[in-house]
């Protein structure tokens, strides 16, 4: 026991440690480094659940959520800040970030779907006061996407001009390069445990312990186990998504459509499923076949195209769908970040969350997004 103690490597010292190098971690780490803080970001090397690799890159502020008006506005705010973010990141990192700010669509099949969606938009307008989205009929939809031969059942769509689509891996890469250029340090290792020590925190990694004054937990689903020293049951769950990838086609869809959208490379991604089945990432053909069939109803020509591969992954979903930005209960120097829409919210994450981490207030829109709403004191 004594020998073991002597053999422990000495902890390295850090001002701020950000646990998690995905889109959320990178966004706030970059923001902190920009402000002159000394930040070390820890990211697991391989094969752990990586939600940042499991998404289409939609910048999506429409249609969420009538019962969370502040969260909806938060999303719009982020989308409006996005062009500035990508421009800055491209300049600072030299990484090109393919992005379209061409709006977003949600297709409707049949009249019932159209009416349901329309009612929901009505509710959003009521709750938010102002909501920049509306229903468009089929003719208008065809004008927006003239080269997509929509199926006969398509009656129209929900449209929002403030949505868009970004290449998510390029965005992440730009953040990481920008972070390093701003003086940030990236450590690729596995975190085994986090414990409060002295006035700060000790992050125990496979490569030895790392001490910090301030801690940021941005490790997605892994936050559940990393936050155990403060919360036994973090209200965040694994959200399984399964997706079909159809071969490259001529580029006909410059406006992304929820559930069936064309990437910058020309391939078509189909999938919109949310499943809460724990950590099972097996592809269930019966499940994605349902989505494939839906996509064929929206865009019949897709049926003849070749499916190149299918993949699945786990995303993060806070239990009440809203983002979590919070000090951990009893730990004013430990901040936790969890959200489903880390790509959309990247702009506000970079702009506002670093200040919150350094103990300033959250912006008004986000003040309801702490753990207080789940009954915790923090």
């Amino acid at each position: 026991m004594f020998i073991k103690k002597i053999m422990q490597p000495k902890p390295t010292e850090h001002e701020i440690i950000v646990a998690g190098g995905g889109i959320s971690g990178a966004a706030v780490a970059y923001g902190l480094a920009k402000k002159g803080h000394k930040v070390t970001m820890i990211d697991a090397p391989t094969e752990t659940n990586k939600a940042s690799r499991t998404n289409v890159g939609l910048l999506w502020c429409q249609s969420k959520f009538a019962h969370l008006p502040d969260y909806a506005k938060w999303g719009f705010h982020s989308c409006r800040l996005f062009p500035e973010l990508t421009k800055e990141l491209e300049e600072v990192s030299g990484v090109e970030i393919p992005v379209n700010y061409t709006g977003g669509l949600i297709a409707c099949l049949g009249d019932d779907e159209f009416n349901t969606r329309q009612d929901y938009i009505g509710k959003l307008k009521e709750e938010l006061g102002e909501y920049n989205g509306s229903m468009i009929d089929r003719a208008e939809l065809e004008r927006k996407l003239p080269k997509v031969p929509f199926g006969p059942e398509v009656t129209g769509a929900a449209w929002c001009e403030e949505d868009g689509i970004v290449e998510p891996l390029a965005l992440l890469r730009a953040y990481l390069v920008g972070f390093e250029r701003a003086g940030g340090i990236i450590k690729n290792t596995l975190i085994h445990d986090v414990q409060p020590v002295g006035g700060g925190y000790r992050v125990i990694t496979e490569d030895g312990p790392m001490d910090c004054e301030r801690l940021v937990l941005a490790a997605g689903l892994a936050n559940r186990r990393l936050a155990q020293f403060a919360i036994a049951d973090l209200p965040v769950s694994a959200d399984k998504g399964q997706v079909l990838l159809v071969e490259r086609m001529p580029y006909v869809m410059p406006i992304p459509m929820l559930g069936v959208t064309q990437t910058f490379g020309g391939t078509i991604i189909i999938g919109f499923r949310h499943e809460f089945v724990g950590h099972d990432t097996r592809i269930i053909p019966e499940d994605i076949a349902t989505e494939g069939k839906w996509a064929i109803r929206v865009w019949p020509e897709l049926g003849r195209q070749r499916l190149i591969r299918a993949w699945s992954g786990l995303r993060v979903m806070p239990d009440d769908k809203q983002a979590i930005y919070s000090k951990l209960p009893g730990h004013p120097n430990a901040t936790i970040i969890n959200t489903h829409s880390a790509v959309t919210l990247a702009a506000v994450h970079t702009r506002y969350i670093p200040d919150f981490i350094i103990n300033e207030d959250l912006p008004e829109l986000a003040q309801g997004m702490t753990l207080k709403r789940f009954g915790y004191t923090c």
Binding site: T46, E286, I288, I308
Partner: protein, 462 residues
Amino acid sequence: MDVQTDLLVVGAGPAGLAAACAARSCGLEVTVVDEQAAPGGQLFRNIETPLGQSMLEPKEREQGMNLAADFRKSGVKYYPGTTVWGLEPRKVSCNINGKPVILKPSTTVIAPGAMERPVPFPGWTLPGVLGAGAGDIILRSGGTLTENPDDPVVLAGNGPLLLLLACHLIHSGVKVAAWLDTGYWSRRLMAAPLMPASLLDSPYLGKGLGMALQIVKGKIPIVSGVKNIRAVGKDRLEKVVYEVLGKQKELYTGTLMRHEGVIPRTHILNSMKVEHAWDSVQRYWYPVVSECGATSIDGIYLAGDAGYVHGGDASILKGRLSGIDAARSLGVISDSEARFRSAEPLAVLRRMRIARGFLRYVFAPNPGIFDVSDDTMVCRCECVTAGDIRRAVREGHTDVNEVKLYTRCGMGQCQGRMCGPALAEITAAEVSRSPKKVGTLKIQQPFRPVALRSYCDVNSLK
């Protein structure tokens, strides 16, 4: 059609045909599916036609024709032109003549065979550059490799198919300008102590020596220690440039055939998380299977060169053994009858494996062949270069799945079949580790592109 059956055999090459016949003769209901239009796989391609028979040595021809004839007589249900795109125990998704079907076999023997190790080099995507196996297929299809019969071809690489191809070329009167040998002499010398064991399989040794003699008599110029092969041309191959002893040389030709060994086709088994082992001499992954081909997954067998490359005649024996064991596993024959039926093929197979041990060294790939320039295209489907891969590795991505994600290498329609080995070798070289340590590409169904409608229709059947 009957979707439920005792045994499904995937692949109608030597191993698959043998497995089907052996299982059938034990009394099982057997279905065979294969992507090609006729039985025989690669070794016995077109074995039922005079053209296909003509290029084989008499003993092999007889073996192949007998196997095909037995297969046809056996009452096995056979679906050629079938692509398998999903495989789980007791559930196999395929397209039979374009129609999606889900088959439900109690046991499955997977016998996809082997493929040539795909090695990228500058200009390898130019029309006129082929694998040696492809060149051989053209000859065995009665075709010619050059438009003008007097034009020469060039061979390059290190491996068994190059020998075979050279003999066929001599036999067909094709002019071979040179054989550029990229082999690894230190490994070849290590083979020497194992060669006496090869006398255990003298017919095979005789065949090899016979081929070598033909090549010497055919007066093909052999250049050893070749490095940095490049195929050069605008819209098609015009010349081959290479280095030997530090000097650059070139050969004008419109046809180059490169071969760097034969490796198991592991695509399907990778998707099933079957345990694989790494052969550090041959530099390939192979599935860990019992002597009769049983994998770690209940009801799934692997037979033939896809388990480890020992050659076509060994594949026939491996196929027989898995067919017999499938029957035993279903309780259709007793354990003792299975032992009785397996005794002879097992004995012969064991002798063969010992005798052929030296080949592991003679045809060991030279790892230097993967040290290609940054501008070399590695992923043909997505146009990803060696430089792209190295850059991703330097940015901290040391697992091939991560590199794939960042570069798109392996995301195209071949699903990493052509770029997988090079992706691993280049990634590993960049971090000075063995390819064993950089992971293998995660494979999921569909194993091949399949029309979206087919995939959805067949998976929606309740």
